[in-house]
Amino acid sequence: MFAQALNGLSYGVLLFLLSVGLTLIFGMLDVVNLAHGSFYMLGAYAGLALIAATGSFWLALVVAPLVVGGIGAAIERSCLRPLYHRPPLDQVLLTFGLIYFFEDLVKWGWGGRIRSIPAPDLFSGSVTVVGATVPSYRLFVIVFGLAMAGAVWLLIERTRLGSIIRAGVFDAEMTAGMGVNIHRVFTGVFAFGTALAGLSGVIAGPIQSAYPPMGASILIPALIVVVVGGLGSLKGSLVGSLIIGQAETFGKAWLPGASMLMIYLVMAAIVLLRPQGLFGRPLK
């Protein structure tokens, strides 16, 4: 029971790192980035390559997100920028194309089979917490994830850059009118969001391994988190991640026959009761 809750928590913080980027990108750029999961996948594979080259998980944990963020910035400037004033469906088509593109690129480079990413030596064992045996790597994920969540929180809620981002999410045009170079902020937010997705890909590696369609399969839970929490809301993606993380884990344990249903039921219930999500601004 307690071990399940910890599993759910580690999955939850992973979802949080993923959904922060998704929610900020949506809130600010108005882009439903279907390729967000692809950046998660790119993170895992960049991590794999870096570990193979250097033997250091910790180096990969730092460098892979930077690489992914760089790719994100390049994508934003070359592909998304021309679309900001076009119908939203164009972005759907574009980001869908990116999913295909990146998934195949990774297949090309690494093949289609599942590759495991070893946990760092420091956290390869397991520990006993309150009578439950838990892989110590999971505890690391929880602590590191929560620390990152705190850092992101401080960055967005307590810094000048953060207030510009929040203003941009609230009203991008107005923010541009205040003399902020909104294009540069857009690129920055996209790069930041994708870098976090890359980071969660590296962290997830030792738990879930790396395989090409991993991006497409993580996208749906991440989108669900964003909708449950409320679009553009940081607090929403934190609370949403924790709810969905627990729902998924306990669903698997208690309702093995219908485990996959759980998160969809949670989401449908919340959207029906509160369409704008738990912390979203009221619609219209």
Binding site: L93, L94, G97, E103, D104, A258, M260, A268, P275
Partner: protein, 307 residues
């Protein structure tokens, strides 16, 4: 008008005679395009006309497919092949639509997606539906006196259903009902203020689209003789969505063109290189950047065709 009719007649004749001149693979490809064309047209009724972007249209494709598989296995006949699947899909659309149309935009996208994924989750874990292997070995039936197990019979059956769907949906979008839908797409609040029961129109559109999608699913089951939970997967909806966008939203013919382009591209590229997803992905990206409005948009721009 007469030129157009003649052109369509010629096209229909060519499609009907196709199996006489080409082998199994091209014929199967054409039939796949026709079925996805029906599916894409039904989605375009929602997207292009009513402005409701659904990411869960696969729910109805899958329901149609599964009902056809179950019914045809138990009782191969007209009812199982032609009537029950769209009816069941329409019913599913009524229930899902009842809940989904109450929210708009991204929330509608996500709610429809959640519903279709629920079907995926249920079929994936339901032993009596074959779990992840789905239902295989579905026979083709005798429908309205035509034996569909016979290739030409199936081909003509398929062609006539595509034609009927296209004509039927064309009637729908050009009817007063269709105009109300387009009005809702342009300005929902205004239509509500003028006194239209907006939600009832949206629900009806959702049910019509679901019913037609169910027919497409049933035809797909009959084409390949099986159905798996993957039919419900969000990527199935996504691919239909791409077909509509590639063809050009808001034009039924465009949806069929988009289906054709997608499937031809996929099979053409995959026969030359293993890297078809890469090429397909790049094509979408370039298409968005350089050919907004899809194939129909390009045709109209270059050739000067008007709707």
């Amino acid at each position: 008008m007469i030129a157009r009719l003649a052109a369509f007649g010629l096209l229909a004749a060519l499609a009907a005679l196709f199996p006489l001149f080409f082998g199994n693979y091209p014929v199967k490809l054409l039939q796949e395009i026709l079925i996805w064309g029906i599916f894409a047209m039904s989605l375009d009724l929602l997207m292009g006309y009513a402005g409701m972007v659904s990411f869960g249209h696969s729910a109805f494709f899958g329901v149609g497919g599964y009902v056809a598989a179950l019914a045809l296995t138990a009782y191969p006949g007209t009812l199982s092949a032609l009537v029950l699947p769209p009816l069941a899909a329409g019913l599913a659309a009524l229930v899902i639509g009842f809940f989904s149309i109450r929210v708009g935009g991204v929330y509608f996208i996500m709610l429809t997606l959640a519903f279709s994924q629920m079907f995926y989750a249920v079929t994936f874990q339901a032993a009596w539906l074959g779990a992840e292997d789905g239902i295989v070995g579905v026979p083709r039936a005798q429908v309205l006196g035509v034996n569909l197990a016979q290739p030409m019979g199936f081909h003509l059956f398929l062609l006539s259903l595509v034609a009927l769907t296209a004509l039927g949906l064309r009637r729908v979008v050009r009817s007063p009902f269709g105009h109300v839908l387009q009005g809702i797409n342009e300005n929902e609040g205004r239509m509500e203020a003028v006194g239209y029961a907006v939600n009832r129109y949206k629900l009806l559109a959702f049910v019509i689209a679901g019913t037609v999608a169910g027919m497409a699913g049933a035809l797909y089951t009959q084409l390949v003789g099986s159905i798996t939970p993957d039919a419900f997967l969000w990527t199935t909806s996504g691919e239909a969505l791409l077909m509509v966008i590639i063809g050009g939203t808001g034009t039924l013919g465009g949806a069929v063109l988009g289906a054709g382009a997608f499937i031809l591209l996929q099979s053409l590229v995959s026969s030359y290189t293993e890297r078809w997803m890469l090429i397909l992905g790049l094509t979408f990206i370039l298409l968005v950047l350089f050919a907004p409005g899809g194939i129909v948009g390009v045709l109209r721009g270059r050739v000067g065709l008007r709707a």
